[in-house]
């Protein structure tokens, strides 16, 4: 029986006066990749940020791995096992690539460094620029660094927000391959506007609109459902 | 394009305008003005007149600070310095002009305005461009510099001793013009009325400024700088404008203050305590309200006047406790604690809180048909 590693039930989020999430309910199954879809401003990023505790939920419940985390602060959510790759590839530009990774390792244990081997296999460039300031990396490399950094932190779930944004198609293909490798090690929730990437990586999907989940199902089914894609995603 | 029916917004404006002279606020202002005019004639007490004159001056100084802090969101620690520049302009010109004449006062006013404008433009051009918080740091440093300059440039300012001077003609302390309804008409009284007239004009000017299109842009910038920029406003220029205007008014207040005391020294018109007083007054009165300045200034000045009596009382109640005595001597400590508590728990001040309550009442009335 598939088991949910993360489940949101009726989550509301307010930012200042604005009521952004208006009752989001969704589940991510352990070991699978779940994609959040929806047009700009639908509330996808806010959903991820609410799970992280960055924009705390004002109502509803969030359960991660059997723990209620809707009141937890970001660092506690991270320590519970959620890794986060924000929308704007928040690599720390003034730190070297190495320092970015050391920061991500809460304990600099041999296991963590062993994990780096997997990372170097997936993202060879990061090894090349090991001692360089992250600020000099290209957009694609920064995105790789951000994802790898979340992965090395020994998380049970990775939240990745629009990794393909602003990247060249060839880089996106590399990213797709890398994420499909990562899927074997960890559960992923991916926010993605690039439907090609979403369909290549995701197994399950949820479509958000105006702060609510309006549709959900299996990715295979969505790929062929032109009507749905037209209606919510504006893809012909 | 048929009729010229007013839009709802215009209707609302017309409605407000028609009520302009009947609103309770206006009546209160009228009553206040009447009291200020009649006060010294009805109740000739020097102590009260002194208190009221200082409250008037500080009310305007605080309101002008509110333009910078409350309406523009810029923290200037130089407001006291501009006050001092104005005060020293009057003091030095009157002191060094022999014999002192009326036009010297005018000259001093113009000089105060000129110097403060130039200094404010230079400071804001240098530091506002970067980040509003820079302005706080730079003004703090420059204000301290002026304070020290007041001490050390003693060939001009007479240093710590300060400058005492005479006012010209009918404003001079020795001038006397007989009695009116039993009240001595003398130089002090005329200076009081001069202060009243200038303060009233300045206050009206401040209120007009806030309600003008410029004032509305300033509020928009304060509330959302990015949006204002996106709408095409030159944020930097508006900030400079507001800072310069507020500083200019402050220097004129300083000029009035010097005239009232006929004396200035670095600590009273340039020092940190003055700046702290202005901060305290604006917080207590309420940021972004302009009128709060009146309440804040009145509260602090009255408290200052009566605190020595309170201290004596405290001392006589606890004659044995030495620590208690020292605490009572340090009334700035009490003000400081009051100030922190107001920033934390009463950030809107008296007028801001009252306005919120009135607004809530109005909404409730509207909600009930």
């Amino acid at each position: 029986m598939p088991e949910a590693i993360l489940s949101l039930a009726g989550v509301h989020t307010h930012i200042g006066q604005h009521h952004i999430l208006q009752g989001v309910s969704l589940e991510a199954i352990r070991g699978r990749a779940t994609v959040l879809l929806g047009r700009n401003g639908a509330g996808k990023s806010t959903t991820l940020r609410t799970v992280m505790g960055l924009t705390p939920a004002s109502a509803g419940s969030i359960v991660f791995d059997g723990q209620a985390v809707e009141k937890a602060r970001p660092h506690a959510v991270a320590r519970a096992g959620v890794g986060f790759v924000p929308e704007d590839q928040a690599v720390l530009r003034g730190l070297t690539v190495e320092e970015n990774f050391r920061l991500a390792m809460l304990q600099e244990s041999p296991e963590a460094w062993a994990k780096m081997e997997t990372i170097f296999e997936l993202f060879a460039d990061l090894k090349k620029f090991w001692r360089a300031k992250a600020g000099v990396l290209s957009g694609g490399q920064k995105q790789m660094l951000a994802i790898a950094r979340a992965f090395v932190g020994d998380h049970k779930l990775l939240l990745i927000d629009e990794p393909s944004k602003g990247l060249a198609p060839i880089v996106v293909d590399h990213l797709i391959a890398s994420l499909n490798q990562l899927k074997r090690h960890t559960t992923i929730i991916l926010v993605e506007q690039n439907f090609h990437m979403a369909s290549q990586v995701g197994s399950d999907y949820f479509i958000l609109d105006d702060g609510r989940v309006v549709h959900a199902g299996l990715m295979e089914a969505l790929v062929d459902d032109e009507g749905l894609k037209q209606k919510y995603l504006g893809i012909a | 394009m048929t009729g010229r029916e007013p839009t709802p917004v215009q209707m609302e404006r017309l409605h407000q305008r028609s009520r302009r002279f009947t609103r309770p606020g206006f009546l209160i202002q009228l009553a206040l003005l009447a009291c200020l005019i009649a006060g010294p004639l009805v109740m000739p007490s020097f102590r009260v007149m002194d208190l009221v004159a200082k409250i008037m001056i500080f009310a305007v100084a605080v309101a002008s600070f509110d333009i910078i802090l409350g309406y523009t969101g810029i923290i200037s620690f130089a407001h006291g310095m501009f006050f001092g520049l104005g005060a020293y302009s009057v003091a030095l010109i009157c002191h060094y002009s022999q014999p002192v004449q009326y036009h010297h006062l005018l000259l001093a006013g113009v000089l105060a305005a000129l110097i403060s404008t130039v200094v404010a433009v230079v400071i804001s051009a240098l530091s506002l461009r970067v980040k509003a918080i820079f302005f706080a740091m730079v003004t703090l440093a420059v204000a301290e510099f002026c304070h020290i300059l007041g001490y050390q440039w003693s060939s001009l300012t007479k240093g710590e001793d300060g400058v005492s001077f005479k006012l010209p003609g009918v404003f001079s302390a020795d001038w006397s013009g007989g009695a009116l309804w039993g009240t001595q008409i003398n130089g002090r009284l005329l200076v009081y009325y001069l202060i009243l007239v200038v303060c009233a004009l300045l206050f009206v000017g401040l209120v007009r400024f806030v309600r003008s299109p410029v004032g509305r842009v300033l509020k928009a910038i304060r509330d959302n700088e990015q949006r204002a920029t996106a709408l095409g406003y030159r944020v930097f220029r508006y900030r400079v404008l507001s800072t310069v205007f507020g500083s200019l008014v402050s220097s004129l207040c300083g000029a009035l203050f010097a005239m009232w005391l006929s004396y200035v020294n670095p600590d009273t018109v340039l020092g940190t305590p003055l700046m702290l007083n202005i901060l305290l007054m604006v917080i207590i009165g309420g940021l972004g309200t302009v009128y709060g300045g009146i309440l804040g200034a009145a509260f602090i000045k009255i408290a200052e006047t009566w605190l020595p009596d309170l201290q004596k009382l405290a001392l006589s109640l606890f004659p044995k406790m030495e620590l208690m005595h020292r605490l009572a001597e340090r009334w700035i400590l009490l003000f400081g604690i009051l100030y922190i508590l107001s920033v934390l728990f009463f950030p809107k001040g008296v007028v801001g809180t009252l306005r919120d309550q009135a607004e809530a009442r109005r909404l409730r009335r509207l909600g009930r048909p």
């Binding site: 809460l106 | 918080i133 920033v343 934390l344």
Partner: protein
Amino acid sequence: MDLAPDAGQAGRRWAARLAAVSIWLLPLLAIDPTTYLVLTVAGLAMGMLLFLTAAGLTVIFGLMDVLNLAHGAFFAWGAYAGFAVLNALNGLGWVETGTLGQGILSVLLALLAALAIGGVLGLFLERVIIQRVYGDHLKQILITMGASMVLAEVIKVLWSPNNQTVLVPLSFTGSYDIMDVVINKFRVVAIVVGLAVYAGVMAVMQKTKLGIIIRAGVENREVVQTLGYNINRIFTGVFMAGAALAAVGGSMWGIFREQITPAMGDENLIFALIVVIIGGMGSVTGSFLGACMVGLAFNYVAYLVPKLALGANILIMVVILFIKPWGLMGREQ
């Protein structure tokens, strides 16, 4: 300049360097070399003590985005704590009449007391007041200003509003005379301590995990949180460390000047602000350079035209703001 932004950048950098070097060398034209050396040592000593305050101010600003105007008050409290300890130890005969060992020990204890009081005050202020106003510059500035005033007043209540004379062990007074260059002993101590603190802070920032976390936090607080670090605890720790450094600086200042007043915190804050503006907010190295510039300029000018000493520093600040609005090492935001 829009066409060649890089050239403009480089030009500004060189102009800033030129300004820095000219502050250091220009006075040689007007001052004879022996006096110049004495003044240089005095200026560096003053710069080091300024650096102790400015370092905390700049890191607190960079990491927490808080302009802490109560930072000068920590300086004053450190001075009074050191003063109280030296007074108490003098009662044991350790200070004015003690041996060399006792003298050194009493100065160390005075600095330790300052460190402790700075840490405690920093903890209190951050937890009780500043944590309520994170993210609100206006309230921060208003409230730390108030805290600064209250802390200075409490000094007046506990000790006295007037100046106090600090008792200094004999071994720390007097001066070395090296070929007519008279160097006050405590100035040497100040320079050594300042350099050691700078080296220590830089080592922590560059080499340790804590340093990585702090530098990362200066750049992006949110990322640090989502990587699993409790940013509030780091804030408290950094605030305490900054306060403690300022307090140590204050107590050294007291021993150096042998005079302390409740207003010394405000004065020091002004200097530290100038240093931080010159150096660039958030940069430790910038503060170090800025502190040296301010200390040197103050001493040279004080010798040439005593009354313009502070004015010279304001002038330097204005010039730096003009050529590099973000300060020598500041990052544009």
